[in-house]
Each structure stands twice: as C-alpha cells, then as structure tokens.
Amino acid sequence: MAQKEILKDRSMILQKEMIARHFERLEQAPANHEPVVYTFVPGNLTELIRSFGALPVLPEINALQSGMRKLSGDYIAEAERAGHSEDVCAYVKCDIGMVKSGNIGPSGTKLPKPDLLLLSYTGCYTFMKWFELLREEYDCPAVFFHVPYQGDGKLEPEHREYMIRQLREQVIPALEKATGRAYDEEKLRENLRLSALAEDDLVAVLQSGKLKPSPIDGYFGTVYYVGPIFSAFRGTEEGVEYYRALREEVYARAAAGLGPIVPDGSLDDQRYRLVVEGPPSWTHFRDFWKMFTDEKAVVVASTYTKVGGTYDFGFRHNPDDPLGTLADYCSGCYTNLNLPSRIEMISRYIREYEADGFVINSIKSCNSFSAGQLMILREVEKRTGVPGAFIESDLVDPRYFSQANIKNRLESYFQMIESRRQGSGTGATVASDPLTSAAVA
C-alpha cells in the first residue's frame, strides 16, 4: 500500500517539478536570451517550437491555472474594466487581465514577453482575436497557420498539402526569424520520436478506464495527466519520463484493483461509470469533482482530454514525415472535429468503456465548444440507449457557476440512472411520440 502511494506521489511530484522548472526557465528566458513563443493547446507545434530552442507559453493553460487558483475573477474584472464585454470568452479576459496585472504566471513567476505569437490552430476564431489583442499588447510578430476544419469528418489530401506548404513557407521562416536559428529537421524528428513514446504511455493510461473498477478518473484526474503533453513537454525527455512513471503508477493501481485518487481518497467502489463532454469549470474544480465522487461516480473517458490530440484512436507523431505528421496532428484535435465525428467518438466511448451515462458540461462563454451540444445529447442517447445529462457552467468565470443548480441536476441524473436500473419490472418502454426522447431503460 505504502509503495503505491509513493508511486502515485511520484508522477504528481514529477509534474509539479517539471512545471516549476519550466516557469522558472521562462522567467529567466530574457536574461538567458532564450526565445519565447506563445501558442494554443489545440494544434500546438511544441516539437517544432522546441527544435528552434524556443520555450512555449500557453495562455489557455495560464488562464485555467488562474481559475483553479481563484485568481480569474479579479483578472476578468480587470479585463472588463478595460472594456471587454461580459460575453467574451472568459479565457481571453482572464489572460488579458493577468497581463494587465503584471503578467505574473500561475506559479508566481513573471512571464516573459513573446518573441513570436504562433497561432497554429484556427478552429476557434476567438484564438485569432486573442492573439490580435496580445500582438497589440506586446507589439511583437505573429504568424498565422490556417488549419482547415474537418467539415466532412476527414482531412483531404489537398488540405494536408496546404498545411505542409504553410509550415514550410510561413511558420518555419517566422520561427527562424524570431529565434535567429536555422530549421533543423533532424532535431524535429528526434522530438517527434520522443512525442510518440510519451503518447503510447498516455494512451495506455487513458484506456485503463475500460477496467472495472477504473484505476483513473478519465476527466478530473486526466486533465492533470494530459497537462504535460498538452503544454510544453511533448517531444521532451522529461515528458517521456513523466508518462512512463504515470503508466507504471496507474498499472499498479489497476493490478491492486484500486480506483483513482479523488478529493476524498481512493474511489474503489464505483457506482456509476460516465463519459463527459466539454471542459470542466476550473474555478470550482474540486467542488465540481466532488459532486461526482460523492455519488461514487467515476468518469471513464472524456472528450475534453482530447483537445490537445486524439491519440487513443491511433494517431502518433511520426518522425519519418515530420511536417505531414504535424498537419495530421493539428487537424485531428478534438476541437477541429465536426458534430458527427464528436457524436461518434462519444458513442464509441460509451460502448467501449461500458458507461452508464454521459454528462455534457456546456460552457457559457465558449460557443466553439458548446454550439450543437444539445443535438449531440439527443443523438448519442438515440444511438447508445444511455441517458445524458446537460449542465451549464463556465471555464474560468466564477460568476457562472451555480453550485445549487448543478448539484441539483447531477443528483437528479444519478438518481434517475439508479431508478431506471431498479426499474419496476415492466422492462423497456419507448415513448410513443417521435418528438420525445427515444432513450429507454
């Protein structure tokens, strides 16, 4: 038992240390003449950035960390004082507010100014506006990498070529100019090789959610697990080491028949297995998580943990095709998938992870994620026969989290699953009206 706790601690300590080191290095970057590139999680080109010896900064991660540290409310108020509307993406306002409040990052160190803003994903138009604002703020160069939306559910060959051409003709020259270094394809291949190693281990961790009991929480716990690979550590030795340790730790829990560590200890007795769609509320992360664990609900898989890459369906970064693989990666991120692909993915998770239900957390200030989620709910219910729950909150704006309302819906939902399980002996029923939900017990 003691050994398992140490193993658990190891991945957490590793992560904490590597993130702290990264932020310290960022703080020293101007003094050490290390170039800094700001970019976003979906479609991040970390291997390429790092192949130029540059350090990535991810404003979304800073925003969500500010949310978890209860700083976002003040930052958002600061941005609103500067004229940003209440309806604007809360991540953007949190970041702008942080910049205006001295740009102290979530770990307490000062963030360096960017040498380049690399907009490498365009499925969210707000990202474009966000970097426009930062470009004004920092008066620095920006490069725009257009990722075609997978409207037909697949990446067309000409789109792939178009992306490779952009990488070669725009992104790489911009990085060369910003860092003063030449493009080194061998270095990029090496980084990609390391990425694939970490990705193998991450997928093994994610898929352990199929076990009963699940040794991981595939949403609340997994947002920590994906932290390094979604941010600065893809394609690094540190990343590889972290995911190896994590995999060992999770496998040890699985072998011992243990559930994940949750806010109140180890969740071994799991009454409900769920799939979750949508980001969590960062400002009330623990409260939100506890609403699940209090009911002994474990999340076995989630879509949000795929916004920085959908590795569990087979994609790996391929060192033999360095620019092509980056194009594949960017276009395959969850945020770039159309509604039918998202419906298929959630339905697959429900079937393959044997889930009892699925929960959609709809984000007030994120149209890009939230539009169409009610249609997703209906269609997934129809395809799987499993009931869905719909709740609403926000990423980092604490004003949009209503504890009583969300708890009420989740409790009702769990009790609904329970009473449907118990049934009344009459078996399945189908509502006669085609307008009503076809989901049945």
Partner: protein
C-alpha cells in the same frame, strides 16, 4: 396508524404530504419558506398532520350535519391559530416599543398597537361568521395586509407615525415566523371546538382523531432546500424524480411533466411507471420562473394570486422581450410608460414565461400525451391558458392535466418514495 411523509422544501413555499399505508393521502400542509428551511419544514409537516387529523374526523363524521360541522371546526381551528400568532405578534411589538421608542412617546405607541391588533382581531372574528373567502394561507400575508391598512387609519388619531408602526411590525413579524409556536392540533382543537359550541355530533370523532397515533414510519425530503433537512442521504430525493412520480400518481398516463417552481423550471419525461427517462432544467438564471411573477406582483402592488385573473382580462397581448427577473421592474415600467395596459402587459408576461418553459420542454424531448403541469404556477389561469395554446401549436392535441393540488406534486412524490422505502 402507520403513515409516511414527503416534504418538498421549495424556494418560495414548503409543502408536506402525509400518506396512509395504502398510499391514500391523509393530509397536506403548506407554509412560506421564510429563508428558514428547518422551521418551514417543521411547520409544513405540522400543518399536514393537522390536516390529516381533520381528515380522520371527516371520515368518522357520518351525517351531513356532522360533515358541515367539521368544515366549521376546521375554520375555527385556523382562526385560533391566527389569533395565537396575533397575540404573540402584539406582545413582541409592545416589547419592541419599550426598547426602541423614546419614553415620552411610548404610551401613544402602546395604545396605537393595541388598537390596531384589536381591530385585526375583530375583523378576523367577523370573517369567521361570513362565508369563506379566498386569501393567502400564510399569517405573514394576511396579518401584514390588515396591519398596513389599519395602521394607516390608527396612526393619525393616536399621534404616532405610520412608518414607525410599520417598522415595529417588520421587525417582529420575522420573529413570529421564526420561533416555534404552539400551533399543533392538540394546542388549539379544544378552543376551536368551544368556539363552535362543542357540537355533540363531533365529540367522538375528535377524541378518536386526537387519540390516533400518527407516527411516520419514514420521511423523504425533496426540493430546493432539501440539503437543509436533517435526514440521511437515502431520505433525500431529487425534485425531478419526485415531480415525475407525483405526477404519475395523480395522472397515471402522464408522459411529460412541466414544473414551474419559484427558482427553477423543469421539463421531465417519464415512462409508464413514473420513472424519469430524461429532463431539462433552466440554468442558474431564474428568468421566467415563479419568482419572476412574484417580483412583477410586487411591482404592481398586487397579490401573486391576482396576476393571472387580471391577465385574463387582456384583449391584446404585449410582446415581452425579457423574462429576466432582475429587469422585471424596468421592463414593466417601460411598457407602462409607453401606454400599454396592465392586463395586456401581464398577458404578455405570462406568455413569455411559458415560451421559456416550452424551450425547455423541446430540449427535454417534447410534449407527449399525457402532459401534466405541476408547481405553484399551475394555479395561475393565465399561465395555464398560455400553456394550452402553445402546446397545441407546437405538438398538436394533448391531454393536459392540472390537479387542484398541483403545488403538492413534489411532496406527494417524496411521500411515495418514503412509502417504497417502508415496503
């Protein structure tokens, strides 16, 4: 007699239902939630048991004469409860005079309060002798409106200010509402019987009702404030499940339930056994919920129960843009300033509320036959009319069920869950 209890702690009112072992309803009780869920639950429960005991008396009252006497006894009992609270209110207000009024002015205030309270008492005694007329069930509402009216009359002639009298009332009514008063069956049944002349035909029935042991075998709580109930987790059920099961019990062919409560609106789909298969609720914003109507009633200086009938007098519906509760007053004043009539604005408001509920119904999977409308707003004729029109427009002909006791649906569902726990 074995029984079970369901308690629905709503944001506006708290309801309790007592069920017999057979599932038959023995009694119902309701009170305002007064921001004190613990007390509200106790009061509603007490009321439900009083109601249950009157039900027992009714069962035993064989003759028609006895049945009429029971009705009279019930009214006498309610009057005794009222007077008990009025006496306590007066006592507290007189104490408050000693504390907060300068010595020189005290005698005038003492006399003024005594006068107002004795006028209220006279009105209540008179009211008892008249045919029953509708008014709020809650002491705060009925005593409050009488106090305001009579204090205005008395203030001038007693050399005191109306504002100060109201201040005394406001301070003390909260205390009256929040202290556990002796309002139970045994506390007042003797006085009530005495008031109606101790009719011989009821003596046996009342004694039997007093002697009946009504200890609940199980209690289940639900509603917005359910977490405040001092129950273990297995005795708490979600409102969604309770409204679904309660609606099913009232109308067994129910497939879709709409509950417009004070703080939230719920659209629920149930299977033929009353088990919930899906639901949708409004988000944290209480726009278009019962509370919105409450604010509108305050703005218009009307009682909540007067809104629907006034809206029914409308000849043309005004389009309402926002059902935001916070902006309710602003919207209302703007329309009034544009020359719109109150009844037409109200008709528009009711339609706007129902449109929001229709959107939740659509999200939950639509309106199936039969459709049951529950919650406090189901008592409002204008809301019901709008529901009927919009359901027909969007889904075609549907059997629409509304129980006269729709406000108790959640508590009934909770009591049914309690009954299942026992069996």
């Amino acid at each position: 007699m074995s029984c079970v209890v369901g308690i629905d702690l709503g944001s506006t009112t708290t309801k309790a239902v007592v069920l017999e072992e057979t599932g038959a309803i023995l009694g119902r009780g309701i009170t305002n939630s007064r921001s004190n869920y613990d007390l509200a639950a106790a009061v509603a429960r007490t009321e439900a048991f009083i109601n249950a005991r009157f039900g027992l008396i009714q069962q035993r009252a064989a003759s028609a004469i006895a049945a009429t006497a029971v009705q009279k006894l019930r009214r006498a009992f309610v009057l005794e409860q009222f007077l008990h609270q009025l006496r306590r209110l007066e006592q507290l207000m007189q104490e408050e005079v000693q504390r907060s009024i300068p010595a020189a002015l005290r005698p005038a205030y003492e006399r003024a309060l005594e006068k107002v309270c004795s006028l209220i008492l006279d009105e209540e005694e008179d009211r008892f002798t008249q045919p029953p007329a509708a008014r709020s069930d809650f002491f705060r509402d009925s005593a409050g409106s009488a106090f305001m009216r009579l204090a205005e009359e008395v203030a001038g002639s007693h050399g005191v200010t109306f504002d100060r009298l109201v201040g005394l009332y406001d301070k003390c009514i909260i205390r009256v509402e929040n202290e556990p008063l002796e309002l139970d069956f045994r506390d007042h049944i003797g006085e009530a019987l005495h008031r109606i002349g101790d009719p011989i035909e009821l003596a046996g029935a009342v004694d039997a009702a007093v002697a009946t042991d009504l200890t609940p075998a199980f209690t289940v709580g639900t509603g917005y404030g359910r977490a405040r109930l001092p129950f273990p987790k297995e005795q708490i059920r979600s409102e969604i499940l309770c409204h679904g099961l309660g609606a099913h019990a009232l109308f067994p062919l129910t497939r879709t339930v709409l509950d417009i409560g004070g703080q939230d609106t719920k659209a629920i789909q149930v299977d033929p056994d009353g088990i919930v298969t899906g639901f949708q609720m409004n988000d944290r914003c209480a726009a278009g919920c019962g509370r919105y109507l409450g604010y509108i009633a305050d703005e218009m200086n009307l009682g909540l129960h007067e809104l629907g009938p006034l809206a029914e007098k409308s000849t043309r519906t005004v389009k309402i843009n926002s059902t935001c509760t916070v902006f309710a007053g602003a919207e209302l004043r703007e329309l009034l300033s544009l020359g719109q009539k109150r009844e037409d604005i109200l008709a528009g408001l009711h339609r706007a509320i129902v449109l929001r509920a229709m959107s939740l119904l659509a999200r939950s999977g639509g309106v199936s036959d039969e459709f049951t409308f529950t919650g406090g707003v189901a008592k409002n004729p204008a809301a019901v009319r709008a529901i009927r029109e919009l359901v027909e427009e969007n889904y075609g002909a549907r059997q629409i069920n509304i129980s006269a006791d729709s406000i108790y649906t959640g508590a009934l569902g909770a009591a049914l869950f309690a009954k299942r726990m026992v069996s």
